[in-house]
Symmetry: C2
Subunit: 272 residues, 2 copies
């Protein structure tokens, strides 16, 4: 069975999309075509959406599911005339919240991902810059300013995790690749030792590491299974010996790895 | 008035946090303390949460607001004994969806940000690598593989936007800084001309640019208001002359800029 799902918003669409994806993930047997439609902020755009929704209904032979976070009543009414099945995210929760908070909702459009204070913006950009400047062991002299330092073999997922934590949470995360040399000395490099409490290890299944490295440098010794297996084993031994908390990233998304690291290290997000 | 809000989940907490933030943004007069508590996946952890919630209730003199996406009924019941005001995100929508889809929800824990297929993971990592490898005009020979190429003056927000689009949507976005030299020649560099349809311009208010550059290189000519104003004016002229769509990033978040670019260029996200 095929169903189309629309995530419709007067802003970025991130809230409708995030909640919609979570709910649809609970229906594993259905094949959804997912379409995000942000900035539907006029009656004209809503009318064009109705056309798209009705076309999908006809094509699928099933009415589409609409997840919307529209605040404007007039625009919502236009959409409600479509053949879609509407899940009204905001209206379900705003009135109980208004009652509990004894306060009126401002019903303001596109509020949630608006920029807020510019200090928040700067903090985030600084965190992204920090991740970029302190990527891959490039510099180690700023580790005193880091919230976290991820360690692990080359291509185990350190960089995307640092960037995600910077972007999403404003966390300043550096990362340092453990090389063969570090493994042979059987100890942590001195630059890391003094920041031991900030360290978190990432590891990965040798099979997956081989595949990822192969994309990067096909048929190299670096990408060989033997080399990957050796490095992963040695690094895991190092983590255990040095008492560094670590996580196998193989079966987790960047979101999951990041959330687990913050819980494990007790680091609070800086963007709220 | 101060209120504490908890975003509680058995997974990453991203859905509870995203929806909760959106809803709370509608109550601008209230000062919320926001706490995300991911991986609450056992009765023991739920009991510890109840302690935290009740402590916040006592401290604030107001009951905390709880946004939860817990699927396990037993864990939810423990939480329901707390003094918080609960907004049950999933239970509100899952039964109407079950009816509409004529299908049962799997009620599986932490589903939404789980890794899914590994091809999706690889696509995302590849997009992040693409953004990093093609950042700041470093390389231009891979522009044929780009979905988008952002252009603008140095430090106007190109890199964070490219990284966000890669991480969130799997979009391959390169970026190219327009330098004084490009402006003096009054035309687009040849490397960009051949990919004109992929170009999108970012611009920024000179005041904000001055502040951002000052963080980077204090008291330099590069960070002077006169230089920033000159560059911004020239680049905006270039965009207009060459018919390149552009956006002033000053008052928008990275989420908003990214969503607007995708709409404007008609680019569909690659991760769904």
């Amino acid at each position: 069975m095929k169903r189309t799902a629309f995530f419709i918003s007067d802003g970025t669409g991130i809230t409708a999309e995030t909640l919609g994806q979570s709910l649809l993930a609970q229906f594993e047997t259905i094949d959804f075509v997912k379409l995000t439609r942000p900035y539907i902020d006029s009656v004209e755009k809503a009318r064009a959406m109705v056309q798209q929704i009705n076309a999908a209904a006809e094509k699928d032979g099933n009415r589409p599911i609409i997840f919307d976070t529209l605040v404007n009543q007039e625009i919502r009414e236009v959409l409600a005339e479509s053949e879609g099945f509407m899940i009204d995210i905001f209206s379900s929760f705003l009135s109980p919240l208004e009652q509990e908070l004894a306060s009126s909702s401002s019903y303001s459009v596109g509020k949630s991902h608006a920029i807020g204070q510019s200090s928040k913006y700067m903090e985030r950009i600084e965190a992204v810059n920090f991740a970029l400047d302190n990527d891959d062991g490039a510099r180690t002299q700023h580790y005193d300013k880091a919230d976290l330092i991820l360690v692990g073999v080359s291509r185990c997922g350190k960089t995307p995790t640092c960037l995600y934590m910077a972007m999403q949470y404003g966390i300043r995360a550096a990362n340092y690749p453990l090389t063969e040399e570090d493994m042979e000395r059987l100890q942590l490099p001195a630059t890391l030792k003094q920041h031991r409490h900030k360290l978190f290890g990432l590891t990965i299944d040798p099979d997956r590491l081989t595949a990822i490295r192969h994309e990067r440098k096909p048929n190299s010794r670096y990408a060989s299974f033997a080399q990957c297996e050796f490095e992963v084993r040695e690094v895991e031994n190092l983590f255990r010996r040095e008492g560094i908390a670590y996580l196998n990233s193989t079966t987790f998304s960047v979101e999951e790895i990041s959330a687990k690291i913050l819980v494990e290290k007790g680091v609070e997000r800086r963007l709220k």
